[in-house]
């Protein structure tokens, strides 16, 4: 047997302060002979006393304070959730710019080489032997950043449109 039918009566008696002297004789006799009820009796009063201690030992914050903190946190969370698409759009745009830069780099390299060649035919400042590293350096300093800025200018209005769209 895991639970005694008298347990509830015993709990009531302890909780109401009637145990042991105010409780009925039958219940007292039963508890003396019932191992389960003796366990309950051993712990029930201690629990009720400790509960009273616990209730009084520390004040709980006011309902208003908890409500206010909850509202603040809920707002922050809502703002964070709402801002997530914007962050995703920005990250996507950045990735697009990077990918486009990588994809267009060979074409840019060719055009720069042609431009350097044409320029080299007329300008004396260009070194007589145009090395690959010189061309790559020139492209890195001019074409790729311009390309990135151009793509960003194209994508930024799209991002703003998505963010402002209701």
């Amino acid at each position: 047997m895991l639970q005694c039918p008298f347990e509830e009566d015993l709990m009531d008696a302890v909780a109401s302060g009637r145990w042991p002297h105010g409780a009925g004789t039958e219940l007292r006799h039963h508890v003396e002979g019932c191992e389960l009820c003796r366990d309950v009796e051993a712990i029930a009063a201690a629990f009720l006393e400790d509960r009273d201690c616990a209730w009084n030992e520390a004040p709980v914050p006011s309902a208003s304070a908890v409500w206010w903190r909850t509202q603040m946190r809920a707002r922050e969370e809502a703002a964070r959730l709402a801002a997530r698409p914007i962050i995703i759009a920005q990250a996507t745009a950045t990735m697009c710019v990077f990918a486009a830069s990588v994809a267009l780099a060979p074409a840019a390299f060719d055009s720069v080489r042609r431009w350097i060649a044409a320029f080299g035919a007329t300008a004396s400042s260009v070194p007589p032997e145009i090395s690959l590293s010189w061309i790559v350096g020139a492209a890195a300093y001019t074409t790729l950043p311009l390309l990135a800025v151009g793509l960003w200018l194209v994508l930024a209005p799209v991002v703003v449109f998505l963010a402002l769209d209701d």
């Binding site: 895991l2 639970q3 709990m11 909780a15 042991p20 389960l36 003796r38 366990d39 309950v40 009796e41 051993a42 712990i43 029930a44 009063a45 201690a46 629990f47 009720l48 006393e49 400790d50 509960r51 201690c53 616990a54 209730w55 009084n56 030992e57 520390a58 709980v60 914050p61 309902a63 208003s64 908890v66 409500w67 903190r69 909850t70 509202q71 603040m72 946190r73 809920a74 707002r75 922050e76 969370e77 809502a78 703002a79 709402a82 801002a83 914007i86 963010a163 402002l164 769209d165 209701d166």
Partner: protein, 194 residues
């Protein structure tokens, strides 16, 4: 959920919006519910964790999660059980974190909080010592059953267990605690005389 504009987001951040974020209940209902449950929940958290400061943190977190959950609770008892269920899960989470963060291997939850011994009776102090030697699940079961007087069904709902298993679990926990209390010198017949 409605899409938000940048200005909505800004209003949410600054808290200047007249519209509150929708929660599980309105402020007035929350105040009533909080006043009826906060002390009991704080006592439960403090005794099961053995840490008053942690209990305060978990109290706030429990209400926050309840309000954000919007669970559509049928009645107050249902909501109350959900609150204690949330609190119990938070206790388990904090215990797992504490286990990871305690290099010595000591379990802080088994260390009873004795800060308020002065106001506690001898019997309550012995109970706390004994409770500190029980498993967290046993502490939860016993506190809900004997300090709060919860029914088996309520305990099951609060702890996320099957109602049918509560009787056996409670029986075992009660036996262990009674043995610990009797072993600590607090005899049943002595208590009867008090």
């Amino acid at each position: 959920m409605r899409d938000l504009t940048l200005s909505d987001i800004e209003r949410l951040r600054t808290g200047s919006s007249a519209d509150a974020v929708p929660l599980e209940m309105d402020e007035e209902a929350f105040r009533g519910f909080y006043d009826r449950t906060a002390r009991a929940l704080r006592a439960y958290l403090a005794r099961v964790t053995g840490d008053g400061a942690l209990a305060d943190d978990l109290l706030q977190e429990s209400y926050y999660r309840l309000l954000r959950a919007r669970g559509g609770y049928e009645n107050e008892a249902h909501r109350r059980n959900a609150l204690f269920h949330i609190a119990t899960n938070l206790i388990h989470d904090s215990r797992r974190r504490a286990r990871h963060m305690t290099p010595s291997g000591a379990d802080p939850l088994t260390l009873p909080s004795m800060r308020n011994d002065a106001v506690a009776t001898e019997r309550a102090i012995e109970l706390r010592h004994a409770m500190g030697r029980l498993k967290p699940r046993e502490r939860e079961l016993l506190w809900l059953a004997y300090a709060q007087g919860s029914s088996h069904r309520e305990i099951a709902a609060s702890l996320g267990l099957r109602a049918g298993s509560i009787k056996l679990l409670l029986f075992r926990a009660r036996r262990r605690l009674a043995a610990l209390l009797n072993g600590s010198g607090l005899r049943t017949d002595e208590r009867s005389e008090r």
